[in-house]
Amino acid sequence: MAEKIDPIHQFQLVKIGQPLFHIGGTEVVLTQSSLYMIGAVALITIVMLMGTAGRSLVPGRLQSLVEVMYEFVASTVRSSAGHDGMKFFPLVFSLFMFVLVLNLAGMMPYGFTVTSHIIITAALAVLVILTVIIYGFMKHGLRFLGLFAPSGMHPVMLVILVPIEVISFISRPISLSVRLFANMLAGHIALKIFAGFVVTLLGAGLWGIISPLPLALAVALTALEFLVAVLQAYVFATLTSIYLHDALHPGH
């Protein structure tokens, strides 16, 4: 019983098989997290390839799904990063699909949510911000630093504003990763607690009468979590596009 209600247990990584090899002090071992990631990549790839296999003019069900996804992400990139932001479209699309599928996979019963581990979301956010920095410097050189100095400001104001802008910039990958991670983590913990509550009440004799109450809450929370899973993937893609906009147009 105690194990069932433990809301943290679901985030535990489970090793599968022997460690494959070691790199330095790190052992490389297949975990259910790695399996979920590989599964997500396989699923996305299969859907994308099967959806486009027909190449029919009038799309079937799978092809419309693929096209809707494509158009959705494309319009997000276009509206947030501008038309020249489309060169980053594959990156944003991969991020969106990856996060979306992993978020939704975590909603399966007994599922594991890869995106509830901060190292994963942080790595994705760092990837985004490194793309912004590297591309920004490659395209604009030192003018990219103009991002931190709003034009038309008094020099005295700049002394205060530039550090704030720098910190604000550094906070971007943090907020990007923390938001996704915290949403997934908090949602799943809340779900688990309420579900566990139902189980506890059912096992507690007379109190079982009120068990439908937390059950209803758990059902409502599940619906909310599905919404959050999709929404957070979308927010991740949108913010990535907005940050990429800075790399393309650092000036004002």
């Binding site: 943290i8 790595a123 991670f181």
Partner: protein
């Protein structure tokens, strides 16, 4: 996690007691798998899947644009055909009307001429008839005088017993008959 490297453990590394998402021991492993998985996904998407979707959408876009252009062309052709047809119809109508008008005028003129000829003919005949009547009347009147003279002669002869001279009777009849009737 070093001590849990034994065979297929379904047991999580609970020895640490850490909150799993913050367990830094697993970071290296997770990062490696993430890099592999996401790298593969990025390559697959950017090199294979997305160009295919883009090609499909492009093709549809072009096809739709083509179809629209074709439809516009057909429509303009149809419009032209309708216009030509309407023009031809209007022309034919005008022509028919002209012919009808012409025919009507011609017929009217012919009828008129014939009627006028007929009328002239009738006038002539009427005048002739009137003249014959007048002639007849005059002749008849002349006859009436002769008859009156003869009758008067006979009556006088019978009444008086003697035969008056023709000139006397004639004069008397001339007096008795109004001048207008004699003529």
């Amino acid at each position: 996690m070093a001590q849990t490297t034994t065979a297929s453990t379904e047991h999580p590394a609970e020895a640490h007691g850490n909150f799993p998402p913050f367990d830094s021991h697993s970071f290296g492993n997770q990062l490696l798998w993430l890099a592999l998985a996401f790298g593969a996904l990025y390559v697959l998407m950017s090199k294979v899947a997305l160009p295919r979707v883009a090609a499909i959408l492009e093709e549809r876009h072009n096809r739709v644009a083509d179809d629209l252009a074709q439809a516009a062309k057909l429509k303009s052709e149809t419009d032209a055909a309708i216009e030509a047809y309407e023009k031809a119809l209007a022309d034919a109508k005008a022509k028919a009307q002209a012919i009808a008008g012409e025919t009507r005028d011609k017929l009217a003129a012919e009828t008129d001429a014939r009627r006028r000829a007929l009328e002239a003919d009738l006038h002539v005949k009427l005048a002739e008839a009137e003249r014959q009547i007048v002639d007849g009347k005059t002749k008849a009147m002349g006859n009436v005088r002769g008859i009156a003279v003869d009758t008067a002669l006979a009556i006088v002869e019978r009444l008086v017993g003697k035969t008056p001279s023709a000139d006397e009777v004639d004069a008397a009849v001339g007096r008795a008959l109004p001048a207008s009737q004699v003529q």
